[in-house]
Symmetry: C2
Subunit: 633 residues, 2 copies
């Protein structure tokens, strides 16, 4: 018999069930005023005393009796018999009923002279003008803002009763190591509960992380029992699936009731919702993006129902740069990066695997595909929920293309200038198509450093874009082998070759015929995804020769025969030619700081970085065009 999942529940139904089963705990805790920002008042707060407590001066000047000032004028200066120097905020003695600004008072030989009458009450702040003792300052349910702190303190509030929800966080898994310890293969750093604690704190909940519990139902039961006693809600991290080491559901069933096991949403499908002692006990999948999604889509709405402050969701309507598909019947959440492209916002998806946590780090938003749909086609206008403040989107430079380390380094330098470069990964052809569709700010491409080959690529995949090209960096490509094999030796060698369509493979296939070798007759021992993999295939004996970078060959202690270079370039559409972002990118690429960063950390050739490369349409006229035409044919 196959081991199958339990019946899946719709997320909305699971949420309704939770809201119905688990009423607000209505816990109140008192925090010091200075620690109350972001917390939610549990009770209405009333002023303890009036502010100001008595009549005080609203200006620096003199307290006067208004009837004594009657008749004063520019041509009829009047000397006052009674006047009292007061500064802003000082008490106006009871005998005075007005204040004259210091600017309107002349002092001569100790006499106080005015040239303007004062109206009764003028420049006096009456007792209780700001607030009277007993008046409401803020209602219950108010999320305290930094500037509220001043008022609350001024009105006598030094301790604030706030809504409290205590959440117990239990990490499970025999494979867990603590943050700060390097994991061995098969080990995982336990950072999910740390993240959950940080997330819940943002809603005003307090959480307690318990120690990691190994994969053992008895031990998990003990941990749940303790956590349920001490908290309003318990979250168990991992062990929620149907694997042989997934004990979370069984442990909850032992102690209480499993209400839901498995919801029709991704990532996060194998969630467990249970009840122990009438408190919610949730098992969240160990995949970090699944954890995030379920915290946001399942835990947060319950806490909001319990009276805590929701995270705000800022939406933007965007044009989807690439088609995103989804299984019918599954609600799906997909991380995306949003940036301004021309006069609209464009969004490109990141990979969806629950384990690819970097996707969420790189993203600045996410889209939701309802269970009733199969996804969205490229070009659709759809809503995106942002995970950054909305203003950030306007300074985001959305790139779609090859994500090589140099572009993330460029992003670091751009960040210093206030630009946020986001790169959604695809291959060079995908990048060129995105440029053709005008769905990205720039397309990072990895092309052979060979103009005819580049021209052919551009002509085929982005014929309308007539791109501006800027070189980020280049990398030397060649043949790595134990014995120093050359191109002509490859006819009789087992070759570890890069994937078709990648720059080194295009280069290889273009050069082989010069030595009379048909690229299709090559003996491919392995098709590799990276330079390091090609070198590793040679070191491991799988192949005799690998096509890779000089750096990868050197790292694997192999001999290296150069073939050419791959050129990492940013391609832009002509429309953005005068954009400030491009100017900044060119400045950075030409700066010594950037090239030394690339030299220190990566195996790039850093000469002629930031070089403006020739476009295509320009070249089609005159002799240069003719020469190019010939070189391609």
């Amino acid at each position: 018999m196959p081991h199958r999942y339990l019946t899946l529940t719709a997320r909305a139904d699971a949420l309704s069930l939770m809201k119905q089963k688990f009423p607000p705990p209505n816990h109140i805790e008192t925090v010091l005023l200075e620690h109350s920002v972001g917390r939610v008042t549990a009770k209405p707060l009333y002023a303890c005393h009036s502010v100001p407590p008595g009549n005080v001066a609203a200006m620096d000047g003199y307290a006067v009796q208004s009837h004594e000032t009657v008749g004063a004028g520019d041509r009829r200066p009047k000397t006052l018999a009674q006047a009292h120097r007061v500064n802003t905020g000082e008490v106006v003695p009871g005998m005075y009923d007005a204040v004259i600004m210091i600017e309107d008072v002349w002092q001569e030989d100790g006499r106080i002279i005015i040239r303007k009458a004062a109206a009764p009450g003028q420049f006096i702040r009456r007792a209780g003008e700001d607030i009277r003792a007993g008046d409401l300052i803020v209602p219950r349910g108010h999320q305290i803002r930094p500037f509220d702190i001043g008022a609350l303190g001024a009105y006598g509030i030094s301790n604030v009763p706030v809504r409290a929800v205590h959440v117990g966080l239990i990490p499970t898994g025999s494979d867990l190591v603590p943050i700060g310890q390097a994991p061995l293969p098969g080990e995982t750093v336990e950072s999910n509960t740390c993240m959950a604690g940080a997330y819940l704190a943002g809603m005003g909940a307090t959480s307690r992380r318990y120690g990691s519990v190994p994969d053992d139902t008895g031990r998990i039961c003990e941990a749940i029992t303790a956590a349920v006693r001490e908290n309003d809600m318990v979250i168990i991290s991992a062990g929620t699936s149907a694997g042989t080491r997934d004990f979370t559901a069984a442990a909850i069933a032992t102690l209480g009731e499993v209400l839901v096991h498995g919801i029709a949403a991704r990532p996060g499908k194998p969630v467990v919702i249970g009840s122990v002692d009438n408190k919610p006990v949730l098992g969240l999948p160990g995949n970090p993006v699944a954890t995030q999604t379920m915290l946001r889509e399942l835990v947060a709405p319950l806490l909001e129902r319990w009276g805590l402050s929701p995270y705000q969701r800022y939406e933007r309507t965007v044009r989807l740069a690439r088609t995103v598909t989804s299984d019918l019947g599954f609600e799906e959440f997909v991380p995306v990066s949003v940036g301004r492209v021309g006069d609209r916002y464009s969004a490109a998806p990141h990979p969806r695997g629950g384990g690819v946590q970097m996707a969420a780090v790189r993203a600045n938003g996410y889209i939701r595909i309802p269970a009733s749909g199969e996804g969205f086609a490229a070009g659709c206008e759809i809503p995106v929920s942002l995970t950054v403040p909305p203003g950030y989107v306007d300074r985001t430079l959305l790139c779609i293309g090859v994500r090589d380390p140099a572009i993330t380094e460029l992003a670091d330098f751009l960040a210093e200038e206030g630009y946020l470069l986001h790169c959604c990964a695809t291959d060079t052809i995908g990048a060129l198509l995105a440029l053709q569709e005008n769905s990205c700010y720039a397309a990072p491409v990895m092309v052979p450093k060979c103009e005819p080959l580049v021209r052919e690529l551009a002509g085929r995949y982005c014929p309308d874009a007539n791109p501006l090209r800027v070189r980020i960096a280049a990398r030397e490509i060649g043949i790595a082998s134990a014995d120093g094999l050359e191109l002509s030796d490859l006819a009789s060698a087992r070759v570890a070759a890069p994937l078709r369509g990648t720059a080194p493979r295009v280069l290889l296939d273009a050069l082989l015929p010069e030595h009379g070798i048909d690229p299709y007759s090559l003996s491919i021992a392995a098709e590799v995804r990276s330079h390091d993999s090609a070198a590793a295939a040679v070191s491991g004996g799988v192949a005799d020769a690998g096509v890779c970078s000089a750096g990868a060959a050197a790292a694997a202690h192999l001999r290296f025969v150069p073939l050419g270079s791959e050129s990492y370039e940013l391609w832009f559409r002509q429309e953005v030619r005068d954009d400030s972002g491009i100017r900044e990118i060119l400045r950075i690429l030409g700066s010594p700081g950037f090239s030394s960063r690339l030299c220190d950390r990566w195996d790039y050739q850093t000469d002629r970085m930031g070089e403006m490369l020739p476009g295509f349409r320009e070249n089609l006229s005159g002799d240069a065009a003719g020469a190019m035409e010939r070189s391609i044919s």
Copy 2:
């Protein structure tokens, strides 16, 4: 010679000067990962190790050799010689190159049977799939989000280098008492620096509050000297004006240089910007709203220039409900409340005094009037910066009218249901005009409990609105005196009378003729703004009789002769008749919890609360209309 301000500087110029004079301190501090949310990375962060560290299973199931699975099919089940049970995240031993999901495996008598072939690499997460050792996680300048915590921890980051700015906060003033101590007249609770600390923390700055310093130049100098040594920036609270006890500018001049004293902005005009040891030393006015404005408009932009994260400003375009004027040459910031009224957003101003801190608490946004303008006319479409998340505005019920305690209590009960009631204070006539202009959700009015008088008010000020009326509560009004004076006695008494146009005055003026007294012949000893003031005028001997509430008379131990009641009502336009907010308001007004809250805390009559009162146009037909017409004439 009058004591005058120094030349005023435009805020933008002051800010430019500061940015130019004070380059970023570039301080870095290291914080624990779990405390890093909201902080800004000072350096790019790179992964310490690859994730996953080795090839692992992406599904629960069996690790297999893909070549062994070739040929398996629904009708050709295949028993595997080699297979290894793996759970999601577990290491796939080197000899296997694919994983088959547990759902697709049949186990019979210990044999592993499959009905589908596995592709090479299937359901295997390759080493480094999420991130490779040395890859960039986040660039410098990245504000850490809660969900980033999980990734940073997973990639080996346990301590985070973040940008640090240390701000010293020095409260000055001999009138200061600490938070939690009740101020006497002339004393002020020192909460400005607590507020400043909370505000600056939100940008990622750390601050240190020093003890309060009395008004003494020498002592202030000592405090500044110590604070400049220990911080990157020093803020002195209060003492910045031109009063006799304002020593801040002098102290800065003694130790360094005063760059600016006085800027052309309100509130916050008397700000001092100085430099001591090449560090910015700012004197902010003691008025709390001035402090807030200068923190937001002067300090925050400098800290942003220094690389800290700005507070996000969310804007909404709104229609201004009331005209807001401003002096030409002064940039002015005005707190407003914004709410949805019909199909657009409406904003009404709160009072602007720098000392009215409640205005900022009550507001959910502010408008900026540029120095080049004299304000905005009612009906203008203008941008508002919100001080709450934008979603809150959609559930804000904007009221313009009389702010009596009952409506703030109503706001507290509504908050429990997710509605945010904001009340911008004006008098009853202002409220009726706002209703006539359809610039508020509801108009709280205080009217005599006398239909003909109410009808006349409505007919004069909101003839087109044909309002729906709901009673919040009523309050008994009468004559307070030592001797039990009655209405007929007022002809020969000195009277403390409420302001013209207020409900008790309208009632008084309507009733006096019945006793042959001409309201204009009354001997008015004082025109008072509140019930308590009327009673106090009698107690203090200023008047023989005061027109006030029964509660105020009782509190002052005076005899009380009732005249009638004032009715506190919410008036709505017919368009909102079916709105969920009105339903909720009616439910609350009719609830025992609300009436007992009013009874316990305030002097309302709470019978017939939430009563739907007759409208006007309906009454114009039939006998009731005739009766009303007669009773008015």
